[in-house]
Amino acid sequence: MNEALAFAFERVIPGLNAGLWASIGIIVPAALLGVAIGVTAGTLRVYGGVWPRRITNCYVSLFRGTPLVVQLYFWYFALPYVSVGGVNLILSPVQAAIIGFALCSGAYQSEYIRGGLLSIKRGQLLAAQALGITPLHCILSVVLPQAFRRALPGCGNEIIYLIKYSSLASIITVNELTGVGRGIAKATFQNTEVYVIVGLYYLALVTLAGWLLRLIENRLSIPGFEVKNS
């Protein structure tokens, strides 16, 4: 046991700490971008015209309907061969991971936002219209603040998922937690110790994120919009 502990502290933890920062460097921008994409796409899907609605619906079907691994392979391995107007876009592994996760996450987020938007009573939109509030202001100051509160538990859940599927970045050569862990395991054959510790890192990340999300829920909580924590 002491040997295992010494191994953990000397070899595994310093390596994983570097991987942890790489993971956070992907998760945070991907989560923020994902929420932004989700809010935009969700809003367009409910209030957009015919074409914005069609396009965003296609986007959601595409990104919910294909495996994330395939999407990542596409962004990293296939995109360089796709020529758009004579330009080939080459993404670094980290860029490909962030874009891949954000687009996938945004598709799911837009579902939660859409649900939140649909839960808002039509009467409030009529009232806003009757006051002379423009449709844009109505969406920004009446609809979204309410929809976001209603969608928050779902959106938080999606962020928790994102933290875990960020481990897939390792397959496009990003040295994040899982990638670093696999490297150490291969070099030392200490699979048990390494993967248990990697698991604990994710558990800590998810716990921290859950705590932050609950903090946000509580901050945004107002009478009539309480989030019931079980």
């Binding site: 009573k121 009467g123 409030q124 009529l126 009232a127 806003a128 219209q129 009757a130 006051l131 002379g132 509030i133 423009t134 202001h137 100051s141 009446v142 603040p145 309410q146 509160r149 107002i222 009478p223 009539g224 919009f225």
Partner: protein, 255 residues
């Protein structure tokens, strides 16, 4: 008839919804400081008429004039002007659920009238005080009773300085014991000279305030006149028959 005192004129408005002719040529004129009361069975077109006046439902045919200006409904700027000048009270209050009572009153002042936050807050508090809710300014709709919500919605409409107010069955969604506080606010408005059109089943209350009853059925105004005439003893008006039925029903409920 002095022309300048006419605030709102509706001429032969027709509206179809879902293939049905909901309004079948309705005309009315409201002078400054008067209260017109729309009565009649549900489905008669009272709500649709009110929503046609501020173009929440653009009329299919007919004309709407506000302050002598014809509204054609094509320009956004004109609609914005119209809606600022016409306050609307809904049966279900339609408060913004994520805003406090004060913020509900203030939001359009900031977003539509472009007032700065302090002036808007000040104005919102004045209007809340006017409906007797200054002490509830910080509460959210979920914390208010139905009567209080409706009073907040009146304050919200008043803050925009409307030329005319449209009230669509303002007490129909309220528990009986809460109706009185909303009617008191409406009475205060009438006494203060607010021009109003109100759809309601509160016949007794409105007959003391209204200068004219408009009885609607099947999308038309089929009877109109002073409440005292229509409800006179021995009158055989359609209005009288309807009101007798209403009071019979409420009598039954009371007994």
């Amino acid at each position: 008839m002095q022309n300048e005192s006419v605030v709102l004129r509706v001429e032969d408005v027709v509206k179809h919804l879902g293939g049905q002719r909901i309004l079948d040529g309705v005309s009315l004129t409201v002078k400054k400081g008067r209260l017109k009361v729309l009565i009649g069975p549900s489905g008669a077109g009272k709500s649709t008429l009110l929503q046609c006046i501020n173009f929440l439902l653009p009329p299919d045919e007919g004309k709407v004039f506000l302050d002598g200006r014809e509204i054609n409904g094509k320009s956004k700027k004109e609609l914005l002007w119209l809606r600022q000048r016409v306050g609307m009270i809904f049966q279900d209050f339609n408060l913004f659920d994520h805003l406090t009572a004060m913020e509900n009153v203030r939001v359009a002042l900031i977003k539509v009238k472009k007032m700065d936050k302090r002036a808007a807050t000040h104005r919102a508090m004045e209007e809340l005080a006017r409906v007797g809710l200054a002490d509830k300014a910080g509460l959210y709709p979920a914390q208010l009773s139905g009567g209080q919500k409706q009073r907040v919605s009146v304050a919200r409409a008043l803050a925009m300085d409307p030329a005319v107010m449209l009230l669509d069955e303002p007490t129909s969604a309220l528990d009986p014991e809460l109706i009185g506080e909303v009617l008191a606010v409406i009475r205060d408005l009438a006494d203060a000279g607010m021009t109003m059109i109100m759809a309601t089943h509160q016949i007794g209350f409105s007959s003391s305030l209204a200068d004219e009853f408009l009885f609607m059925e099947k999308g038309r105004i089929i009877e109109r006149g002073a409440p005292s005439d229509l409800l006179a003893r021995g009158s055989c008006s359609r209005t009288m028959a309807f009101c007798a039925k209403l009071s019979e029903l409420s009598g039954e409920m009371g007994g």
